[in-house]
């Protein structure tokens, strides 16, 4: 399928996920070079460089586009640096996409990389009493897993999900991730492993919650005209059909990181679509497709239970039916709509600014039939979705 706002993914590359604590730039360069090699292009061919920011690595992290451009060598092209928490990667892709669609550039390099501290994500240091992210830790100890747990508890008490359903998400994802050379955790987990996993934020155990990781991902994307000249044909190319960086619509009625409260429904009723539903909806509208057209999806399983929420947000099933989809094996490799065939965050851990880009790399390889051992049969349309705190939506659809 082709549309008049399609872009072509010419190359995808990653630095494998892990935990080494080295300079994030080092990982980013490995991913960038891998994407360039995959595209068959030289770095000086790039006409635009988009970096996805990380806030935990000082100034170089805040100006990631510049950091990578300087590290690869200045070539005098425009750059951008995007921060949108977990959605930073999608925002960087969107920045490059907008430049290309506007005709300012024909080909762009997008890079995201992070290095992460051990343990819970904590707010940036200092005493910042006007920063809700600082305050939610200080006043409530409301960690990220605590927010994930509030949603998980709703699934149990309202929809009848069980903690075993949550564990089965990890079992499924780990089974796929074993075969992914870029995944950090390449071990199959079973339900038995959960019994000995410590409770973090009830009902979620340590194994239900994704780790924080080092890693990097990069893409080379281009206009169809550039791709046609470079490849000689557009036959079989992977296209970016949609990138939705949607915000919530007032009132936001779901308690979301890092807020103390929802918006009020006292005067304005809840919108027709909640925030996460609307991210997917906007991407489907851009691509002109619906959930029934998907071959596979990469969703942000920050927690196992959160993966189930996404099934419903994506319209793969009705609200409250996600566990049934999982139990049927519909979202496993070989099922009707495999979800997180990469192994997901379960197998990767999260390298924040790289993760949304990595999701697109994984989908690209699925559509190209290059995901040996965890390949989705005949994949033609893939969707990646996530959400960054402070109201950042991120949904990308690729198709060939």
């Amino acid at each position: 399928m082709s549309g008049d706002r399609d872009l072509v993914v010419l190359g995808a590359g990653m630095h494998p996920w892990g935990k080494w604590g080295r300079d994030f730039t080092e990982y980013g360069l490995v991913a960038a070079r891998a994407a360039l090699a995959d595209a068959g292009l030289d770095y000086p061919d790039m006409q635009y460089i988009a970096g996805a920011d990380t806030i935990r690595n000082g100034y170089p992290g805040f100006v990631a586009g510049s950091t990578f451009a300087q590290a690869l060598g200045w070539i005098g092209v425009p750059i951008s640096s995007s921060y949108a928490a977990c959605a930073s990667g999608a925002m960087a892709v969107q920045s490059a996409r907008a430049q290309i669609l506007a005709g300012f550039a024909e080909v762009a390099l997008v890079v995201g990389a992070d290095t992460t501290p051990k343990g819970f994500f904590a707010p940036v240091g200092g005493e910042r009493r006007n920063d809700p992210d600082w305050l939610r830790f200080h006043l409530l100890g409301a960690t990220n897993p605590a927010f994930f747990a509030l949603n998980a508890r709703r699934r149990i008490d309202v929809y009848g999900d069980t903690v075993d359903d949550f564990a089965q998400v990890k079992v499924k994802n780990s089974k796929a991730g074993v075969h992914n050379p870029n995944a950090r955790f390449r071990k199959e987990f079973s339900l038995d492993d959960f019994a000995s996993s410590p409770l973090v934020s009830d009902p979620l155990r340590l194994l239900d919650i994704c780790a924080t990781s080092d890693g990097a991902a990069a893409l080379v994307i281009a206009s169809p005209e550039f791709a046609q000249r470079h490849l000689g044909t557009l036959e079989g190319t992977v296209r970016i059909k949609a990138v939705a960086t949607t915000t919530p619509t007032y009132p936001q009625v779901r308690l979301e990181l890092p807020d103390f409260a929802t918006d009020s429904t006292a005067v304005v009723p809840a919108p027709e679509r909640g925030f996460k539903d609307s991210i997917a909806h906007d991407a489907y509208e851009q691509a002109g497709i619906g959930p029934e057209d998907l071959s596979c999806a990469e969703v942000y399983d920050l927690s196992t239970a959160l993966e189930l929420d996404w099934y419903e947000n994506l319209g793969l099933c009705a609200e409250g039916e996600a566990a049934k989809l999982l139990r049927n094996g519909d979202t496993a490799l070989g099922g009707r709509i495999p979800v997180n065939a990469s192994g997901g965050l379960s197998s990767f851990g999260e390298a924040i600014p790289a993760q949304a880009i990595a999701q697109i790399c994984e989908l690209t390889w699925q559509l190209q039939g290059r995901s040996e051992g965890h390949q989705v049969d005949n994949a033609t349309v893939g969707l990646a979705i996530n959400q960054g705190l402070f109201g950042h939506g991120s949904c990308t659809i690729v198709a060939k």
């Binding site: 343990g119 819970f120 904590a122 707010p123 005493e127 009493r129 600082w134 305050l135 939610r136 830790f137 200080h138 006043l139 409530l140 100890g141 409301a142 960690t143 605590a146 747990a149 509030l150 949603n151 998980a152 508890r153 709703r154 008490d157 309202v158 410590p198 409770l199 973090v200 934020s201 009830d202 009902p203 979620l204 007032y250 009132p251 009625v253 308690l255 807020d259 103390f260 409260a261 929802t262 918006d263 009020s264 429904t265 006292a266 005067v267 304005v268």
Partner: protein, 148 residues
């Protein structure tokens, strides 16, 4: 947090209320009404309903990182998101010490209380709001927060 709750009984959380469209916000803030269809720039500090119903809850079993000031040894505690009907807000808070997830369920009635968050280097207590299950006796008292 000065201005987020009353410090004399009856304890209430304080939100912002738009004098123009009537919507609420917590924590209180200035500058602009959060309703995008309302141009008001003034929000009046308003005591919120003392009671609401549990929307969801969890327990923290690991000490949260700084800037949380965790007791040593750390004691697990519960957090609850409580829905205030009049204001249409769901507000997160710690649950009073000793009340754990097993004591909570979605839909149960809670009320707001104050508790010591930690004792500062100056020896003075720092206060925070906490949710406590509404007791049968307190259920019979009037909920005077929303209209105050």
């Amino acid at each position: 947090m000065e201005g987020w709750f009353t410090t004399t009984e009856p304890y209430t959380l304080i939100g912002g209320k738009c004098a123009s469209c009537g919507t609420f916000v917590f924590p209180p803030r200035g500058g602009a009404c959060p309703n995008p269809r309302c141009a008001a720039t003034e929000l009046e500090p308003t005591p919120l309903s003392r009671r609401g119903r549990v929307w969801s809850y969890t327990e923290n079993h690991y000490a949260p990182p700084s800037p949380f000031v965790a007791a040593d040894p750390f004691e697990p505690y519960a957090l609850a998101a409580v829905e205030l009907e009049t204001e249409g807000l769901v507000i997160l808070g710690q649950v009073a010490a000793g009340v754990m997830g097993a004591d909570l369920e979605i839909g149960m009635e809670m009320e707001v209380d104050l508790d010591v968050l930690y004792t500062g280097d100056d020896g003075e207590p720092r206060w925070v709001w906490k949710w406590v299950p509404a007791t049968p006796s307190s259920v019979t008292t009037t909920d005077n927060g929303a209209s105050a």
